[in-house]
């Protein structure tokens, strides 16, 4: 087993593969996805989508797959995870790579609710004026999923999103101070953590996080500092973790009764750690 890592999508990607070539192959794959799905690259397909005045947009095969995953994510989370919050994410200050984000005095304008649909017949995106897409978390999870499904590596982890084909995969969930919250058996499947403690900045006198609630188009306020979800795929784990964060007090109960979520864990605002009983803990 070979372990490797590289930087992509604003985070560190780690791979475990049978050969040293695995990491390079995964790195090439992530570059391909990022070159199309990054909203920070002016020449990416996503930037072209967000900047065109057209409401009906033809998509590449890769973008169609990512947006299809995002469409399903929106359905699975009852609209809580919606890539159409891009204008609010940028308007609240996250309009450049996070290392360059600075405090701002006030959000830049009023943000209308997300409005976008996919047309399978001709593989196009129909988007309401003012709706901008942010593929951040979905693209990251999707890239992990496809890398493993393509056989490029046995396990791929990108900034908290992990997809594994190895029955022995175990991961440690850390709290916001770096202490161990739990050791979890992932096995063949996926696990993702979404947190509001890492990417934060100030808007006026308010400190905000990067996670926008599509119901308010404003940064989420939640008693959950981070949520970890185990699921079949990294995309499902990623969107599940985001939904648990947004749901706040009801997040764990929702995860518990949601069929596609295997288990969930939350780091509470007071430092407590709670989980659903399905979580496979490792000593």
């Amino acid at each position: 087993m070979t372990r490797g890592s590289f930087e992509a999508m604003g985070t560190t990607v780690e791979t475990w593969s049978e050969t040293a070539d695995g990491t390079a192959a995964v790195a090439r794959w992530f570059e391909e996805v990022e070159s199309r799905c990054s909203r920070f690259r002016p020449d990416s397909e996503l930037s072209a989508i967000n900047h065109t005045s057209s409401t009906d947009i033809s998509l590449s095969g890769l973008m169609w797959e990512v947006l299809s995953a995002a469409d399903e994510a929106r359905t699975l989370t009852e609209g809580l995870v919606d890539i159409g919050v891009g204008s609010a994410v940028a308007g609240w200050g996250y309009d450049r790579t996070f290392g360059e984000v600075t405090d701002i005095a006030s959000p830049g304008g009023h943000f209308s609710a997300p409005g976008w649909t996919l047309c399978p017949k001709d593989r196009t995106l129909r988007r309401s004026p003012g709706t901008s897409l942010d593929l951040g978390g979905i693209a990251k999870g999707w890239a992990c999923d496809r890398a493993v499904e393509k056989g490029l590596a046995g396990t791929v982890s990108a900034g908290g999103d992990l997809r594994s084909a190895d029955p022995g995969t175990v991961t440690t969930v850390l709290d916001n101070r770096g202490a161990t919250a739990a050791r979890v058996h992932v096995g063949v499947g996926a696990l993702a953590t979404s947190s509001i403690t890492r990417r934060r900045w100030r808007v006026g006198d308010r400190e905000v996080s990067h996670l926008v609630d599509p119901r308010t188009m404003a940064p989420v306020e939640t008693p959950v500092l981070s949520a970890t979800v185990a699921a079949r795929t990294a995309v499902e784990a990623e969107i599940g973790a985001k939904a648990v964060l947004i749901k706040g007090v009801d997040g764990l109960a929702w995860a518990d009764r949601t069929e596609w979520i295997r288990s969930a864990l939350v780091l509470w605002h007071d430092g407590s750690v709670f989980a659903t009983t399905g979580l496979e803990l490792v000593a």
């Binding site: 372990r3 022995g168 916001n176 008693p223 709670f274």
Partner: protein, 100 residues
């Protein structure tokens, strides 16, 4: 015949009015010390700021892996803490264990 003429009734009325006015003043003066001055009520302290809310109970039970009755330093109880320190990725994976 009335014992009082019109002029006398007018004097009685004038004295009565004066007495009433004087009495009101005295009453006001007497009441003044006990009048409750309008004040700004103390700010209401939400119960949640001292009593941490708990997650809704899942149907199949809740695992409590770690419980803290008091908020740790730098973490507010209602809103996520502005002072929350930057942290490493919460789900940084450990080396793969079994299998291969």
């Amino acid at each position: 015949m009335s014992r009082f003429g019109d002029a006398r009734w007018q004097r009685v009325a004038a004295w009565s009015g004066a007495a009433l006015a004087w009495g009101s003043t005295i009453t006001a003066v007497v009441l003044e010390p006990v009048r409750v001055a309008p004040t700004t009520p103390p700010p209401q302290v939400e119960e949640a700021t001292t009593q941490a809310p708990l997650p809704a109970q899942p149907e199949s039970g809740l695992l409590v892996l770690r419980y803290r009755s008091e908020a740790p330093e730098g973490i507010q109880t209602v809103a996520p803490s502005p002072a929350a320190p930057a942290a490493p990725a919460p789900a940084a994976p450990q080396p793969i264990s079994s299998g291969s």
